[in-house]
Amino acid sequence: MISIRAKNQIDVWIAKYPKDRQSSAVMQALKIVQAENENILSASTIQEVADYLDMPGIAVQEVATFYENYNYKKVGKYVIRFCHNISCMLNGADDLIKHLENKLGVKTGEVTLDGLISVKKVECLGACVGAPMFQINEKYFENLTIDKIDKIVDNLK
């Protein structure tokens, strides 16, 4: 069930689009619903979004599998999205990713045992002049070094 709170949030987005164009809000609706369900989308939540927006289930499924920001398997409370594209790569991102993996004892795509952190390698996040960088949930962290990463990660609770 989509909570009242989530519905209110979705309604804010629906209001931005012309009448009968509520499906424009589907990307945000999925994010909102995902956030309420341990950051995971399931077939049933997708169906609920479809029903709420009066869309065919498969049309929502198409969106939910096309964009990268949706999760289908367990992720950590903190998702570290490490950019490995060119500018970050040139600035040593690959080594830093290895360091992070070793530090957390997980590979990219995995979640720490305590469920706190998961690491994901992602494509360019549009902060190339701050390379190397990663994003933790909504926030960007730039000009990363091993020390900086250690400090940031150690503060995650």
């Binding site: 969106v63 594209n85 060119i86 790569m89 360019c124 996040l125 549009g126 002049v129 390379a131």
Partner: protein, 422 residues
Amino acid sequence: MNEVCFKNLTKDQCWSLKTYEDSGGYSVWRKILKGKFTSEQVIDELKLSGLRGRGGAGFPTGLKWSFMPRHSDGQKYVVCNSDEGEPGTCKDRDILRFNPHAVIEGMAIGGFVMNASVGYNYIRGEFMEPFKRFEGALEEAYKAGLLGQNINNSSINFDLYTHLGAGAYICGEETALLESIEGKKGQPRFKPPFPANVGLFGKPTTINNTESFASVPEILRCGGQWFADIGVENSGGCKLFSVSGHVTNPANFEVPMGISFKDLLEMAGGMRDGAKLKAVIPGGSSTPVLTAEIVMNMTMDYDGIEKAGSMLGAGSVIIMNESTCMVEVLTRLAHFYYDESCGQCTPCREGTGWLYRVLKRITDGNGRKGDIDLLLSVQNKIMGNTICALGDAAAMPVESFLRNFREEFEYYIKHRKSMVKG
């Protein structure tokens, strides 16, 4: 330097309405609301300014705006493309963070000129800080009575909304972006029809890049000629260059068009640790790579970079020093296009994966004789055969990397290791 989009960069709370208005912000919009600036004047000034689309294609903005059937009845839209994601590009993020009101004013002016009463700013899903900054600015602008219905009794209406992406590079392609706003997969549309005729929700729509919109108010305030004079022939004004990679001080620089590459590199503090320059991608990952010898005599404008054999693109200058293994860089770029292909049309869906797999095989030490010819042949089969430019964007780096650094690829295949890294 920093005369247009970054004009207030160093000021306190540079993103606030107050800072913006103190430096002349919204003066053009207010003139329009008072009926003292006509659509025709706007278009004439923009044409005079030589402003070209800052998203990468470089299409003259004034001309683009004049294409809209602005006198026809019915809803029309202006859309801002803030779906920044081309590797090497990070200027729009800073515009949204540090000068959101310029984007709002530019879009409002565009809406007025093209008779579009609604605008959407499509911000990529990861840009939560810029999104919040922009939403804050929108709230300020509404509160100040600068947006909405019958603004200041001018009978001008303009409502502006943000649409947030969810992680897909392809949505930076303008028609994919429209599909995405409509709540669909970001798959580019074929053209014609062009968005100016059939765009968002099937209505006439003009889409411009964030930097293009943000440049408009200052151009109109100071005059098209003023802007044109900043730059060089065919490349009016100044432009943001994102300089990243192996430089001492990577950053965004708003500099006059036509500045020499040498000077730009200097601004970024030169090569980090005094390393030797090896290669430059001058306009974002899709543009052909250039060698150090060529770039040293290159000027940073549309014609200058084209003369050097590449494209200005979005002004994303990626600097590589001599320790860079070009095979590995190309492999990473190939992975990017493989990962970001929308899958709609055959050559891109099938070809980007093929390119990546061959390159991956080479960097894994399993390259084969004939792989270089294979790569060239595959990229050639993608080139020009796809619906949108992503196919070409995936193909072009392969061609230019192999043309300029073929011996590194040959070495990697033969010796099963990098020529540079050993």
